[in-house]
């Protein structure tokens, strides 16, 4: 059934209007008013996701909740929105995370509260916009538009080295987007329209496909981030305020993988197949090499940042393994599982790393000089038992313990990789060991043992806002870990269709034309 309310537009414009309202409260004299407006807007946005999910028809791969208005006549650019299963999941995740960071910001931020809340609401709107856009230029506008609030967020509320980190973040992502814009314009030139779906199955030569592939790759690889263009992330993550790190980890990194799924694979299937080896190697480097780097980190936020890169390696691996799998096994089922694993990995990583960034932020807030160094802590479990218990859960999810969210995605990707290539699966599987080493070792040094200094001894356990935050996140972790069915249900047909679309004709010919068995 179709809702007549323009839900997607509401999800984009409500936070923007909220941001304007929040800014109108002005200086910090009315900080509480700003806080509550932001919270109410965030809750309303999340509530809007309920009818969005319920009204979503999971039996079709067609775009739903379509809205289409001519925006810029001369260039045939449309304000065109619509979602499929992947976008639906990511939009709900965005609004969920949006509420979390705003809740977390209530206590943590004392200075320029209104502007702080406004940056988050704007970011939320922009990210929803990216996931919902069906027009290439609209997509690009949201894609770039989110840089401004993130740049301000890191720069205004970040820690000591924030100016360097924020400008590095901005220029890096700007660099990535440049070639994508030219690529989009080239595609639009070929297809005569900026509609993203009109790009699919354009008759492009292999040479064109490869050039476009690299143009898009740079944009998305920077966002994911993939080795070797990942260096902005540890800086941005470390210097950003806790909420900013959460948005970066939980949402922005997902945009890169989303880009692969929305642009590279269906638009450039031949190039993707030809260059899948490159993507697989880059993903494996991310998983192993970055995982090793994470082990030696002394700064907790940096450690989680590197762990994020490593985990996103699993997601990109899951996306690009499909070509090898189909080639080797001549069936779509394992390839489908690989792709599904990648998407679920995106969601589960949002919960795990988001929660850990929040936790580190809270720890640092309690420490006098806001130290994020592992060696500054020790025995936190003694003074903050509730926090320690929650953090254990998220650490285990990060490691990929069965029953938590982290397990599902990794397992699906690695098992399906096994069908095609034993060694790739084995190397990817090392993430389980590496993840356990860096996460649990950090956990041990920070939480266990005797209380090491007076600072830690004076820590107070979580307050009710923080507990609410963590309860929401643990619900997410368990729900996805034990019963991923509601997510898989909406993904199935979309991913099945995407998979068939992403196969070059040569490969697709050997395949059953009918993919209804996914439904």
């Amino acid at each position: 059934m179709q809702f007549h309310l323009p839900l997607l537009s509401m999800l984009i414009w409500l936070p923007l209007i909220g941001a304007v309202l929040v800014l109108m409260t002005g200086s910090d004299k009315h900080a509480n008013l700003a806080r509550w407006i932001a919270v109410i807007v965030a809750i309303l946005s999340l509530l809007l996701c309920v009818p969005l999910y319920l009204g979503f028809d999971p039996t079709t791969y067609l775009m739903q909740y379509r809205e289409d208005y001519l925006w810029i006549d001369s260039y045939k650019i449309h304000y065109s929105l619509g979602i499929d299963g992947i976008s639906l999941v990511m939009i709900i995740l965005t609004n969920f995370t949006g509420l979390l960071v705003i809740l977390a910001g209530i206590e943590a931020t004392k200075l320029r509260v209104a502007q702080y809340m406004a940056t988050f609401l704007t970011m939320q709107a922009m990210i929803v916009g990216v996931f919902a856009s069906m027009d290439a230029i609209l997509f690009y506008v949201f894609w770039e538009g989110m840089l401004i609030p993130m740049y301000l967020n890191i720069g205004m509320w970040g820690s000591a080295n924030r100016e360097y980190a924020s400008i590095k973040f901005f220029l890096y992502t700007f660099l990535g987007s440049i070639l994508m814009l030219v690529g989009l314009l080239y595609l639009a030139q070929q297809s005569g329209s900026f509609d993203i779906q009109s790009f699919y199955r354009l008759p492009l030569t292999l040479h064109e496909q490869k050039l476009l592939f690299f143009a898009f790759l740079l944009a998305f690889a920077v966002k994911v981030p993939m080795w070797p263009v990942h260096t902005w992330l540890p800086d941005a993550h470390t210097e950003a305020p806790a909420g900013g790190s959460v948005v970066l980890a939980a949402l922005m990194l997902k945009l890169g993988v989303y880009g692969f799924l929305r642009f590279n694979m269906p638009i450039l299937p031949v190039a993707c197949q030809e260059l899948a080896w490159l993507m697989i190697i880059l993903s494996l480097i991310a998983i192993v090499y970055i995982g090793l780097i994470a082990i030696v980190q002394t700064d907790m936020k940096k450690l989680i940042a590197y762990s994020s890169i490593s985990h996103m390696g699993i997601a990109t691996l899951g996306c690009f393994m499909v070509y090898d799998i189909v080639q080797d096994t001549h069936q779509l089922q394992s390839a489908y599982m690989s792709l599904e694993g990648a998407v679920i990995q995106m969601v589960s990583h949002a919960f795990g790393s988001g929660a850990m960034f929040l936790g580190v932020g809270w720890l640092a807030d309690r420490y006098a000089n806001h130290s994020r160094l592992i060696k500054s802590y020790g025995g936190v479990a003694n003074t903050m038992p509730v926090f320690a218990a929650f953090f254990m859960l998220f650490a285990l999810s990060n490691v990929g313990l069965p029953g938590t969210a982290g397990f599902v995605g990794e397992f699906m990707v690695i098992v399906s990789a096994m069908r095609a290539h034993f060694w790739i699966a084995l190397i990817a599987g090392s993430t389980l060991i590496l993840g356990a080493s860096y996460t649990l070792w950090m956990y041990k040094r920070v939480f266990f043992g005797p209380v090491t200094n007076d600072q830690v001894a004076s820590f107070k356990d979580l307050n009710w806002i923080e507990v609410t935050n963590y309860l929401l996140l643990s619900a997410g972790v368990f729900w996805l870990g034990l019963n991923p069915e509601p997510v898989i249900r909406v993904l199935q047909v979309t991913l099945g269709h995407l998979l068939v679309q992403s196969m070059p004709y040569g490969l697709a010919m050997n395949l059953p034309k009918d993919f209804s068995y996914f439904a």
Binding site: S74, Y75, V141, E144, G155, F174, L185
Partner: protein, 478 residues
Amino acid sequence: MPIFSLASPELALLILSGLILLIDVFTPQRLRFLTYLLVQATLVVAFLLAIAQYRHHAELLVTFNGHYVVDKLAILLKLFIYVMSFASFAYAREYIEERKIASSEYYILGLFCVMGMSVMASAYSLLTIYLGLELLSLPLYALVASHKDSQQATEAAMKYFVMGALASGMLLYGISILYGLTGSIQIPEIARLIHAAPTATVSLALIFILAALLFKFGAVPFHMWVPDVYQGAPTSVTLFIASAPKIAAFGITMRILVQALPELHVAWEQILTVIAFLSMFFGNLLAIVQTNIKRMLAYSSIAHIGYSLLGIIAGPSSHDGYSAALFYITTYVLVAAGAFGIVALLSRTGIEADQLEDYRGLNARNPWLAFMLLLLMFSMAGVPPTVGFFAKLGLLVSLVEAHRVWLAVAALVFALIGAYYYLRVVMLMYFEEPTEANASKPVTLSWDMQLAVTVNGVAVLALGVLPSALIDLCRIVI
């Protein structure tokens, strides 16, 4: 018999500015603000007359023996020129009052400049083009020197005058060669006869004319005067130089290159490609190392001129190249006026807020002003959802259509370099606390200045969200 009614905006400007000059002489000192109001009213009258023409004349009309044209392009350019001049004078009011710059002369000289630009927009022969250009330039040299106690301003005016006279000379030389080749100075006649002329001589004329045009635009390698004049001139004059004259220069470029010399498009495309590339390169690179915001914006204007030339380069082989260039120039001028306007507003008696340092912690001192400057900076960097993005987008679409993908990529790479110094301004305003000297001084604006800045900043955002109307307008006229 010439049809005078076609030149009604220029005639109105001429008659009214003469009247104002007379009235001003007999106005006592305390009523001098009347001059300001009358000058602005004159611009409004000219604007309304141009609007009336726009509604009545759909087709191209030529008069004054083929030296003067009224078409949609001319009228639209005039409208933009009047609006931007209005804004420049509005921003300038407080600034020149505080500095005791002879204010009535200032506005009246400005009005003569507007008349010159107006003539440039409607010029249909090389002679009229030259006439308009000189009518613009001479009062402009005087304006730069209007702060006569300032050594810097005098030096800038001298430099501007000498270089400008050289450029005018080159233009005249080019015109004389063209006349020798074709026996005509009228645009359509030249276009008709040029193919019979020997290529080498035509190229010589083209190079002289291009050099003069690019000097007026301030493009590399004819850019040397730009940073010095922008920095040395009183900020209100810098604001004026950076805005409306660029639009008028675009007008005569269209007339000469596109309407008179379309036969030579291969030649001027090649020359402009080099010029645009160098302008984007040097403009953006040199802006990075500046510590004076006026100088930084001067280099940034060089880069932006490079961008707008891209549209003209793509013009012959794409649908919308010229209109993309016009859109780019118009919106850039809007943004530049806002940026220099804020620089002027932040200055106080005796203190110029022209160092980047002065912007440190502006968000703490006046959040609204900081936010407006943030919008302007992101627009210059070409980040959506500001209008600067759509300006660049239009150029890129045309470049890709004209099969110049590499130039599009280069333009974007330079935009990335440029983003750095725009971001640095934002960084200073938002990420740092005010300097001790500034912290205690609140930034307060009078209501009309507040209104001007707000209209300007919001326009940059609003045109970024809904650019369609202005893009269409730029397409219709070309």
